[in-house]
Amino acid sequence: MARNTAGLLTPAQRHLVTRFGYGVDATLAEDVRRAGGASAWFELQLTRPGAFPDGAAEGVRRWWPDLDRGPAELWKRQVEEVRGGWEVMEDYGRWLLVRRIRTRRPVLEKMAEFWEAMLHVPVSGDAQFTWRVDYGDTVRRHALGRFDELLAATTTHPAMLIFLSGATSTKRAPNENLGRELLELHTLGTGNYDEDDVKASARILTGHHVDLWETWKASYVEEDHYRGRVKVRGFSAKNAKADGRRVTEEYLHYLAHHPDTAHHVCERLATKFVRDDPPQSLVRRLAKVYLRNDTAIVPVLQALVASKEFRTSAGDKLRDPSEDVVATYRALGVEVGRPRSGDSGANAILWQASGLGLSPHAWPRPDGTPVRNDVWASPARALGSMSMHWSMAGGWWPTAELDYRTPSAWVPAKKPIRFADLVDEVSRDLLHRPASKHLVETACLATGCGRKEKIDREHGLYQWGFPRLLAAVLDSPDHLAC
């Protein structure tokens, strides 16, 4: 990867593409410049992501062929001990991480990640692994579309039905799991429904079936569907037919368009992309846009980015574990090659994310990967991040099928460079911003070098101390916050 030495984006531009991306590298900066600025880039990312050729990211899928096998085949291979479902799920997490490192369509990627976390089906579960990749692909197709269509596609998706017990729920004693979390986590939000709503919600969803442990085919079983009047908040249906799929559709459409859902969805968006505890005035504004546009997602994101609250939030969000790992690869310009063994970087990257506290979509609870900082601002996370930054800065682990840059990328061959200038070069390259005075001081402490000390290729810093400098930059708030 080329060094990121071209002119820097302005701080406002950097803020937008950092918050909605995975770290600014030379390619991204060039994409922004070519689009005519960050706003134009964002608009293109939202409306025509295909304008950014993404072959390097698309091709990665072929590295893990199990991602494209169907549920029955995956299950057969698990039963016959060819390959466990958990291994396929590990591949899924790896694919996502490497894709995020390489993609030139980060906004689509980021929104797919956002919805997959909100409408959460954990990868580290049981039976749902059979359908889990298809679930992610489904979310991705709707990631910049309309929430009502996204909700319809996810709620009755076999992976969701399996995870939240909808796949086997029947009218005899309806299972409340999916009906409840649909209301609490996916639409209206906590406190906006009562226990009768939960029961009716569960009744509406009976009939959707997955043939567990056998063919894994999804079907609709009319004799399992509860018939009779159902009411959830303002939604009411006679629900007299044996086939309740139409009622399910109407119910989900109703929920998607409910003002409480608008508020719930927009609050999560603002928490993720603006800041923790976003102002309620902003959430209300976004909810209006959501409802006015028939649950379309793009206008909401446009309004969010145009808000004063967004513009003034630079640096307010802490990167979560996966974001930290991906941003570190991008910052260091580490080239990830096709894996040839379990220890290959493209495989080991998953352990790096879990070492920081969480690999992609492995959050064990139905509420999905948290979007608030405080969950990730823990000592365990800090120790994990420092460990990962240290090993990556030195290029010590992982090493297989990875290409790290060496100090010669920064220290000129002929003329020595002042240490403070070197820190600035590294900062511009890794973080796409000039080194602050604070960062230079930090780097001096980390390396023992003075600001004016001349660094050449004979210097100890170049010879064996360079990881200390890189780690100091990666450990800093300038890298961990975005």
Partner: protein, 426 residues
């Protein structure tokens, strides 16, 4: 891999084996990663040695004979009616035709209750009088949202908007000074420990160190400088540094090999680490541990198969191994189990139960008047909605533990709460 997992599973044993293999493999992978990082070449000798070599502070428990509280959270809402079965309440068997635990299989029976047979590893503690159960416990009003209920039960200060968990408030009442005084096993600070007093979080004891600080103090000095601010991450970095420094004695202590071995589960590993922390005397007085997978909407199963059998067996074997492993330190340690809510009385159509209300709490170890069941039994009803009603506020149980073991005032830990006498603690 976190132990905090909700469940969705079949009852088939093949698949359960595959799941176990998953956890095992994931942990091996993580361990491999940790080992590989440690192989990085030394950076010693570069530049001036301007900073002192990082020492290991002599911080120890203020009182080496002091009490330790282990709060074990059963995440996902455990079914207390399966763990401690009210066999003399006929409604129990009527409401659960398929998943009720048969009376003849129950352990430690009295006239009303008996333990799930998978809890057999705990029978010696029960008979020795160091394990008790308090039934029909919970919050004052039902809250069937996992997430809202966890927040409420761990914050334990209804009406207060301060984000201070009850264990964090307890820390404020304790005289100790160790940065590890409040320690959570896992990756995140749980609500119970969240607040103004520092809390350390650790996944595995062996990983609780700052990479790259072996040679000199430069990396620590630069980290402290970089994170001088007041934000949550600044605090986390500083807590990580001071905690990891103090943690050395626990890292140096090998894992115990109790006569009853720890299960290979996440809970078994976590409690094995808790034992190291306690025995090493690094000053941890309040420790939180999670066991997940209790959200059994499907396949809770029967005494022959299912998630209940598996999870209860893991819980019992882990706790039994933990107290055996503690050795003489067991005299200082009290363990309490808590779940965000219980399950409904009636089983659903999937060999499971939906979200309910009242639950059972176990209290084990130091100071426990064990070998018996506590609480007032409200009787069960058999309808779609019926719950085990709460007759003992969970805070009354916790109050006895913290006042008897730590000698603190309940007013600070549970503001505005008037506890009722339970009698479970001596």
């Amino acid at each position: 891999m976190t132990t905090d997992q909700f469940q969705t599973s079949c009852g088939c044993s093949d698949y359960d084996e595959a799941r176990t293999a998953l956890s095992r493999r994931a942990l091996i992978g993580t361990a491999l990663a940790g080992g590989a990082i440690a192989l990085g070449p030394s950076l010693g000798g570069s530049g001036p040695r301007a900073y002192a070599v990082t020492g290991r502070p002599a911080t120890r428990l203020a009182n080496p004979a002091g009490s330790v509280l282990v709060l074990l959270s059963l995440r996902g809402a455990a079914d207390g009616l399966s763990l401690v079965v009210p066999h003399a309440d006929p409604t129990y068997y009527a409401a659960r035709p398929r998943i009720a635990v048969p009376r003849e299989s129950l352990l430690a029976q009295d006239a009303m209750f008996g333990l799930h047979p998978a809890l057999a590893p705990l029978l010696p503690m029960w008979e020795a009088g160091t394990l008790a159960a308090v039934h029909a416990t919970g919050m004052a009003t039902p809250n069937r949202s996992h997430f809202a209920a966890m927040e409420a039960i761990e914050d334990a200060a209804p009406g207060s908007t301060a984000r201070n968990g009850w264990l964090n408030r307890l820390l404020g009442e304790l005289p100790g000074v160790s940065p590890l005084q409040g320690t959570a096993m896992g990756n995140q600070v749980p609500t119970s420990l969240f607040g103004t007093n520092p809390a350390f979080v650790v996944g595995r004891v062996d990983n609780a160190k700052v990479a790259g600080t072996e040679e000199d103090g430069r990396r620590l000095a630069s980290l402290k400088h970089a994170w001088k601010g007041t934000g949550p991450m600044s605090r986390a970095v500083r807590d990580a540094i001071s905690g990891a420094e103090t943690f050395g004695a626990a890292r140096d202590l090998p894992a115990g090999q109790p006569a009853t071995a720890y299960p290979g589960s996440g809970l078994g590993k976590a409690l094995s680490d808790v034992s190291r922390i306690v025995r090493s005397g690094v000053g941890a007085e309040v420790i939180t541990v999670d066991q997940g997978d209790w959200d059994m909407h499907t396949d809770a199963g029967t005494v022959e198969w299912g998630e209940m059998k598996r999870n209860a067996g893991d819980l019992a074997a882990s706790i039994a191994a933990f107290f055996a492993d503690l050795g003489p330190a067991a005299d200082r340690v009290t363990l309490v189990t808590l779940s965000e809510f219980g399950r409904r009385v009636k089983e659903n159509d999937d060999y499971g139960t939906d979200h309910g209300f009242g639950n059972v709490m176990f209290v084990a170890g130091a100071g426990v008047r064990g070998g018996r069941y506590y609480g007032s039994w409200p009787g069960l009803a058999n309808s779609l909605d019926s719950d085990l009603l709460v007759t003992t506020d969970y805070r009354s149980v916790l109050t006895e533990v913290v006042t008897r073991r730590f000698g603190v005032s309940v007013a600070q830990v549970f503001p505005g709460f008037a506890p009722q006498a339970v009698g479970v603690m001596a």
